[in-house]
């Protein structure tokens, strides 16, 4: 089973994304976007395409816009074909912004942009851990996951969704994850539980088929317990010795993808 991780032009989370896929059993390759454009049939060898986090084109002209434009001009047909097959796509953070700009998610009616990712309400970059609940949807990426504790790190992570589209998202079960507070209730756009002011507390979306997951939080940064904040204190009664390489919430997403193809 093979996962293709895209790199280039300021994408910067490809190494840890590759690790997440290989740790769950995939064979992974980091492929530069220009190489993929030159040889788009490479896609046929892979079950997964991952758009990792980063700052493609420095977020200039809007995060994800320039890279989406490049893909649209050079790779869109091949990518669309890939999506129609029994294959999975994930976009994390900047990858999520790229997928949204490509219109691949939520893709309610067509592949034009239907939602936008705009600057955080705080106008400040936010790097912090948040809590998510998995909403009602059928994406294989999220099988059996109810809640997740993951980090976000973004300047433009606020999902802006017109009222009419909000209804559609709910109707078609396209909301993948939402920010929640400490008690497990929806964050209701309250900072810092909802770190960016996202409409409907949306943190992740899928397409109708469920094979594309576009999420702002970073599951690849939460593969192990020791990556969580204060993991030393969580284990007050025991010793630290058994914490090594214990998996954390992000692992399950990648494992789900592997199990889907198994």
């Amino acid at each position: 089973m093979r996962a293709l991780i895209i790199s280039g032009y300021g994408i910067n989370c490809e190494d840890e994304t590759l690790h997440a896929f290989t740790k769950t059993g995939f064979k992974g390759s980091i492929v530069h976007i220009n190489d993929l454009i030159d040889n788009p049939e490479t896609l046929n060898q892979f079950q997964i395409v991952a758009f990792p986090g980063g700052f493609s084109y420095g977020d200039d002209t809007g995060s994800g816009n320039a890279m989406a434009n490049k893909i649209k001009n050079n790779l869109f047909d091949h990518l669309s074909e890939f999506l129609l097959k029994d294959k999975l796509v994930i976009g994390i953070c900047n990858g999520c912004q790229i997928l949204v700009n490509l219109g691949i998610v939520p893709a309610i009616n067509s592949t034009t942009r239907e939602v936008a990712l705009v600057e955080n309400d705080s106008a400040v970059y936010q790097c912090r851990w948040i809590n998510l609940k998995v909403s009602k949807n059928s994406s294989p990426w999220l099988t059996d996951i109810k809640k997740m504790h993951l980090p976000v790190a973004h300047q433009e992570g606020k999902f802006m969704v017109a009222k009419s589209i909000q209804g559609e998202l709910v109707r078609h079960d396209l909301i993948a994850c939402q920010y929640i507070d400490k008690k497990g209730k929806l964050a209701k756009q309250i900072f810092p539980h909802n770190p960016n002011g996202s409409d409907m507390d949306i943190a992740a979306l899928t397409n109708a088929k469920g094979n594309v997951l576009a999420m702002m939080p970073h599951p690849e940064r939460a593969l192990y317990k020791t990556q969580e904040p204060d993991w030393l204190n969580d284990n007050k009664t025991g010793s630290k010795h058994n914490m090594s390489f214990v998996f954390a919430d992000g692992y399950k997403i990648f494992k789900n993808a592997f199990d889907y193809f198994k």
Binding site: C13, E16, N233
Partner: protein
């Protein structure tokens, strides 16, 4: 034909909200910010519409034009004035470049000359001039921005007229290729040349060379011997290469009776002695490369480098800081065969952000210093954009405030890198350009950016400084070539040497690398330029950012260039490294420089420095009559130097690369960490701990003790976190002032001596360092009084240490029922303390460090930690025990019941707030009491209390003094108020 694309965000953006929040509703009820893209060529209506769509997100944005603007904007307010902020010609415009790339990719037949200039428009519904000016000041800097303020009506007129200000650089034709410079002139004229630069044809001088008369006389003598006049390129090159910034003459010159100089005697001297004493392979590459490196494990090396970017940050805080951080990233990429940057560090020294200093570089309120708040804000933002966009985590930092930084902020930027010990069977830290290798430059193009940057930082900030010497970084260009170097070229062994282009540009990087082969010959006309019309000397010394220089064997040149090209990076062969020890530069086959390498690097006159001990500094000693220790503790916790820096940590991505293991914020109470750790390899549990320490307030009282405390704290912070003291390395960054004053040199010498003594005592080698000597401001206040502000001498010690296993890591969060111990001695040492600073209570007792005792204590601590006896631990430094206890309580949100009366030997204030070094607070589980106390039998430790489930902080100091405060009050105070920058 429309020539500008304007885009409006239909919602109220975060940026608009936070800008509005600076003003009251009455001052400014509504504002709207739009993005503008100016197009340099004529587009057809169809092309223009298409371009507009490409840059506009139809979900969240809308295209504005002369026809629809009034109608659309009226929905947002009655706008009366408009501010336009755009980049001045020649300033890097990343947004403009990306827009250009997008348009070019879609509009296939667009003119080759297309270029896009970006701008922001601020529509305001006020007429108040002071509000309009305040909005402009908040969002622009006249050094890099063109600012136009128009009434809404005039703006509409301008929009309809469709006239746009030219944003491209247009230089006039070159008048010559090179100038012959006659140095056989009077001493007075030599002085003028050195101070103000070479005289141009139009009788204007080029700007400071920073060469003193003695240096110019050495150049004169050399060329007289060559029987010819020197060229301008040669003099400009020597000015770069011999600058204080590049040669560190103050650190290398003989001083008093120290003939080998401060650096060789104290810094490198200590390291050499330590290497002899250590019988391991920990030290790998020290002081010889762009960064210093030590062993991480059997297969990997870690390197670390810290740089300062003070003067550029004083002029353009954002640009100065972003080029500071991406610049030091390149030091890491340029270490050995190229190390991957795995962590950034920062240390900022600012004036108090909400204090009005009102300083001017020129008389009559001309050329003002930026307000302290905007400097702090710009610097913090610059490091954020540089670090985050490069995908390098920034876990470790510190921020400090003092009036002495009002004329010059200090901006320390550091990078840690990781590199395999061997690449293709060869040791990775060794490299060497070979004769015949091509000189390949990669990355950004060359413009006039930063000309005279290296000589500039060796000069004081005064009216004649060229304020054009600023640059804006382009981290994405750098990220692109960084990926190529680390991921593709390095493993294929396609280059024999690599270095970064920093201060002095190519003249410096090529000149340095050529030492490896012998010499070099460069053809300047091959260098890609941002715009035409640059003179050869400008091309050669330009400090345009985001460039690396590689030495590549002729057979690999095509391959290397094509790999870079495939990744969207420009790479060009510009000449060759030679065996012949000559430094040759040509322009269209004309020699513009031809010097001996030996003269280039060693021809500068050596001098001898003298120091004299400063006279005793008189300290105002005020006694506090009636203490309220609770109030004092809360005030101190809320003070800028102690309070939480969470607002910085959360905007610096410290999770990217997925390596963070001890984070910059700890516990439920999110306490800002003294030390942080990353686990750089997914497959290994070995971690890398980072910390920093500086005590600027001690410096003028006792520079020796100041440096001793810095080394001790930087080491202790890592030990407390769980690092192995035998695997700790240090970096020294001296930022000094007025080196022409013998008293300042005395302080410098004493501080370096302490670095030597304490590094040796702890056997923690210095592996890299840097100094910046001229951190003074000379100017005027608002009343035209002449003012000189010198920074307090600031020595930043950065430390990095290996943590063998994650089991050794400790947290600062104690658990309920834990017993609490103070380890180490609390002495009568309030001198230079933060407490003294806050309450005007000063004395000269700066903490002194007994390194032998301290080392023993640290070893016992590590033993206790290895035996799993430590539940939590924190290092005690600024703010003393009072602050350290509070941080533990805040982090864990648990109460504490403490009795310090037993260690209260010099008064309650001293007990709580003295900053005596080598102390730690440790909490342990009650069941470990016997074991723990036994380990420390022969050391000074005191059990002072326990953690409680009641969220109260109760601290008895003596029969009459005590503190009772809730943990939530402590927390509230600690959150501070500096975040509103």
């Amino acid at each position: 034909m429309p020539s500008q694309i304007q885009i409006l965000n239909i919602h109220s953006t975060g940026r608009e909200k936070s800008l509005a929040a600076l003003f009251s509703r009455k001052q400014l009820a509504n504002l709207k910010i739009t993005e503008v893209y100016y197009v340099s060529v004529n587009l057809s209506v169809k092309q223009f519409t298409q371009a507009g769509q490409l840059l506009c997100n139809p979900v969240s944005q809308q295209n504005l034009n002369a026809k629809n603007i009034i109608k659309i904007l009226s929905a947002y307010g009655k706008f009366k004035w408009v501010i336009e902020v755009r980049y001045l010609p020649g300033v890097t415009d990343n947004v403009g470049h990306t827009a250009e790339e997008i348009i070019r990719e879609n509009l296939k037949n667009v003119k080759k000359s297309l270029s896009i200039g970006s701008a922001l428009l601020y529509f305001l519904d006020t007429k108040e001039k002071n509000i309009i000016d305040a909005v402009a000041a908040e969002n622009s800097n006249p050094l890099i921005h063109g600012i136009t303020i128009l009434s809404f009506k005039d703006y509409l007129k301008k929009l309809r007229s469709n006239k746009i200000t030219d944003f491209n650089v247009k230089l006039s034709q070159k008048k010559y290729i090179t100038k012959k410079i006659n140095l056989n002139v009077s001493q007075e004229e030599l002085h003028q040349i050195g101070k103000q630069g070479i005289l141009e044809n139009n009788k204007i001088r080029r700007g400071p060379l920073g060469l003193d008369v003695a240096s110019l006389q050495a150049i004169q003598a050399y060329f007289n011997k060559q029987k010819r006049q020197s060229t301008d390129v040669e003099i400009e090159t020597l000015a770069q290469t011999w600058s204080e910034h590049c040669k560190h003459k103050i650190f290398s010159s003989s001083i008093d009776n120290i003939h080998k100089g401060i650096f060789n005697t104290y810094i490198r001297g200590a390291t050499r002695k330590i290497i002899k004493k250590r019988k391991d392979n920990f030290c790998v590459s020290l002081f010889s490369d762009n960064a210093g490196a030590v062993s991480f494990d059997n297969d990997w090396l870690v390197c670390h480098k810290v740089e300062t970017h003070n003067t550029p940050s004083a002029l353009d805080p954002f640009g100065g800081a972003i080029t500071g951080i991406v610049g030091v990233n390149r030091d890491c990429l340029g270490f050995g065969k190229g190390a991957k940057p795995i962590a950034n560090t920062y240390a900022f020294y600012f004036a108090y952000p909400h204090k009005n200093y009102d300083l001017y570089r020129q008389q009559n309120k001309k050329n003002p210093m930026l307000p302290a708040r905007l400097i702090a804000k710009g610097v913090i933002n610059g490091v954020r954009v540089g670090g985050n966009c490069s995908g390098i985590p920034t876990p470790q930092g510190t921020v400090y405030f003092h009036d002495g930084y009002a004329g010059k902020p200090l901006v320390f930027c550091g990078t840690v890198g990781l590199i395999p010990r061997k690449i293709k069977g060869q040791l990775s830290h060794l490299k060497g350009a070979q004769p015949g290798d091509h000189v390949i430059i990669v990355g950004g193009r060359v413009g006039k950016d930063g000309i005279h940057g290296a000589t500039f930082s060796s000069e004081k900030l005064d009216p004649n400084s060229p304020v054009t010497a600023v640059q804006i970084g382009d981290p994405i260009t750098q990220k692109k070539f960084s990926d190529v170097i680390i991921r593709e070229l390095r493993e294929k062994n396609l280059y024999s040497s690599i270095t970064d282009n920093g201060a002095g540009g190519l003249s410096s990087s090529v000149g340095e690398m050529a030492k490896e082969s012998g010499g070099f010959a460069i053809d300047l006309e091959k260098i890609p330029l941002k715009y035409e019309g640059l003179y050869p000397w400008e091309i050669w010394i330009s400090e345009s950012q985001e460039r690396m220089t590689l030495a590549v064997h002729p057979k690999n040149v095509q391959k290397v260039i094509s790999i870079f090209t495939q990744r969207g990076v420009e790479a060009t062969s510009i000449g060759k490294f030679t065996k012949k020890k000559k430094a040759i530069v040509r322009y269209n086959n004309v020699d513009v420089m031809n010097m001996d390498m030996k003269f280039l690097h060693e021809g500068y006159p050596k001098f001898h420095l003298k120091t004299s001990k400063p006279s005793f500094i008189n300290i105002k000693k005020s006694q506090i009559k009636k203490h309220s220790f609770k109030k004092e503790l809360l005030t101190l916790l809320a003070s800028p130097n102690i309070c939480s820096k969470e607002f910085i940590s959360t905007q610096y991505d410290h999770e990217v690369q997925a390596t963070s293991i001890i984070k910059p914020l700890q516990g439920e109470g999110r306490v800002f960490s003294d030390a942080t750790a990353i686990k750089p390899l997914f497959s290994s549990n070995q971690s890398l701990a980072l910390s920093q320490a500086a005590f600027p307030r001690y410096a003028n009282l006792d520079a020796y003790k100041m440096a001793a405390c810095s080394v001790d704290t930087a080491v202790r912070n890592l030990v407390v976190l769980g690092a192995n003291i035998k695997k700790i390395a240090l970096l020294d960054n001296f930022c000094w002032c007025s080196p022409e004053e013998e008293e300042r040199l005395y302080q410098l010498k004493k501080a370096a001596e302490a670095c030597h003594d304490y590094a040796l005592a702890y056997r923690t080698p210095f592996i890299s360092g840097k100094d910046s000597m001229y951190n003074d401001f000379s100017g005027f206040d608002a009343k035209n009084n002449k003012i000189k502000i010198s920074i307090p001498p600031t020595l930043l010690i950065s430390s990095l240490g290996i943590v063998k296993s994650i089991n050794d890591l400790t947290s600062i969060c104690p658990s309920i029922k834990d017993l609490i111990y103070v380890i180490g001695e609390t002495k009568e040492e309030l001198g230079g303390s933060e407490y003294g600073n806050m309450f005007g209570y000063e004395n000269i007792n700066v903490p002194s460090v007994n390194p032998k005792k301290a080392l023993k204590l640290y070893n016992v601590f590590s033993r206790a930690n290895k035996k799993d006896l430590i539940s939590s631990a924190i290092s005690v430094h600024m703010g003393g025990l009072g602050v350290a206890f509070s941080k533990m309580a805040i982090a864990s949100q648990t109460g504490m019941q403490l009795d310090l009366s037993r260690i209260n030997l010099f008064g309650s204030a001293n007990t709580l707030f003295a900053e005596s070094q080598s102390r730690m607070i440790v909490s342990i589980k009650p069941s470990n009491k016997k074991f723990f106390e036994k380990l420390f039998t022969r050391h000074i430790i005191n059990r002072v209390g326990e953690c409680t489930s009641k969220k109260k902080f109760l601290c008895r100091l003596s029969n009459k003094d005590s503190i009772q405060v809730t943990v939530s009050d402590l927390t509230r105070a600690y959150k501070g108020n500096i975040k509103k920058l």
